[in-house]
Symmetry: C2
Subunit: 206 residues, 2 copies
């Protein structure tokens, strides 16, 4: 184990590796090499070896990496060898999709609450959840010690929601609203905006 600070760009690749390993494992594969894993994820074998070696010697010369072992190690490193409770704020189409999404549970996450400020939505069912009033959000999230949330409200409301999530003790926010949000240094934010992703590709089209 390396005590130095690991660059965030490396941290960002670990979930990609883990996801590919999960797929391989589902197919019954027991071992892989940096070469093979690299072909799956589109990253050079040298970089994969370098990334992984930041955290320990998890491979074997001549045979490569044990898939279950490396998955365990990556889950440990990423802190997803446990389940994280996640709150969804915004019960529109996207909040609905996230609340019902089956892809979280084998990746370390479970949605546990859904909030909205629209009276016509509060009390309604969304997936397995009853939509709760945003007014109760800070209290509820704080009491449940929830550290992660996803924002699916309109752009105009996103910053205010983020502020309240921070107030409630949330330390990681996945923001689906198409606007940059600002949070204190000890809070992490990731942005998902389909238009932004599409625009990154149209540059190369004509």
């Amino acid at each position: 184990m390396n005590a130095d600070k690991i660059p965030d760009i490396i941290i960002g690749r670990l979930p990609i590796y883990l996801r590919a390993l999960q797929r391989m494992s589902e197919k019954g594969m027991k071992t892989t090499s940096s070469q093979e894993l690299g072909e799956h994820v589109g990253i050079s074998a040298a970089q994969i070896r370098k990334d992984i070696s930041q955290f320990g010697e998890f491979g074997k010369q001549g045979t490569g990496y044990s898939i279950p072992f490396l998955m365990d190690k990556l889950r440990e490193i990423l802190n997803v060898n446990k389940m994280w409770d996640v709150a969804v704020v915004g019960a529109g189409d996207m909040g609905h999709a996230l609340a019902r999404y089956q892809g979280f549970k084998n990746r370390g996450f479970q949605v546990v609450m859904v909030f909205d400020n629209d009276a016509s939505k509060i009390g309604q069912k969304v997936g397995d959840f009853v939509v709760e009033d945003t007014n109760k959000m800070v209290e509820r999230i704080h009491a449940a010690k929830i550290k992660m949330a996803m924002i699916t409200v309109p752009a105009s409301a996103a910053q205010a929601v983020a502020d309240r999530l921070v107030q409630a003790g949330v330390k990681a926010i996945l923001n689906y609203a198409p606007v940059s949000i600002n949070v204190p240094n000890d809070v992490h934010v990731q942005h998902i905006d389909p238009s932004t992703h599409l625009q990154r590709m149209t540059y190369y089209l004509d």
Copy 2:
């Protein structure tokens, strides 16, 4: 204008700048500085000036950048000064949310078709669209000259769908399936996977 190849990492920041400028413009602002824009998006002023200056001299010493002018230029550079037709493949919750999403239209995109292979979904309405049979997809997309698509099918089907999209002439894919997909060099892919984004943050939590 610079004829050299612009690094993709710079291209990736332009949509972020454009999005922030759109917000500023909605608030009635007419000009901004690299300093101010940087505070909004969390990027240094020096980097913003350097990025923008790759494409021309769009600012004025002493006063900064005209917001409408810079938006125009960024739209031109990113090829979103026109509307792009986009196909959605997969009419589950996520496909549904994307088909109805109101955030595309002022960013240069419009969904025009939705496909699924589930007989119980084909013919049903999703937003303004009637779900079409995936069997007709290659033909339909090719005939309509559609160059962009979003994949919201299960991970196990994503690669096969991607292959057929490529066959149909699609050059840019936004993949919501939680699996890496491989495409030819002239096709662009962006991945959106909420679990991956969340895992990138749990590393820093405890």
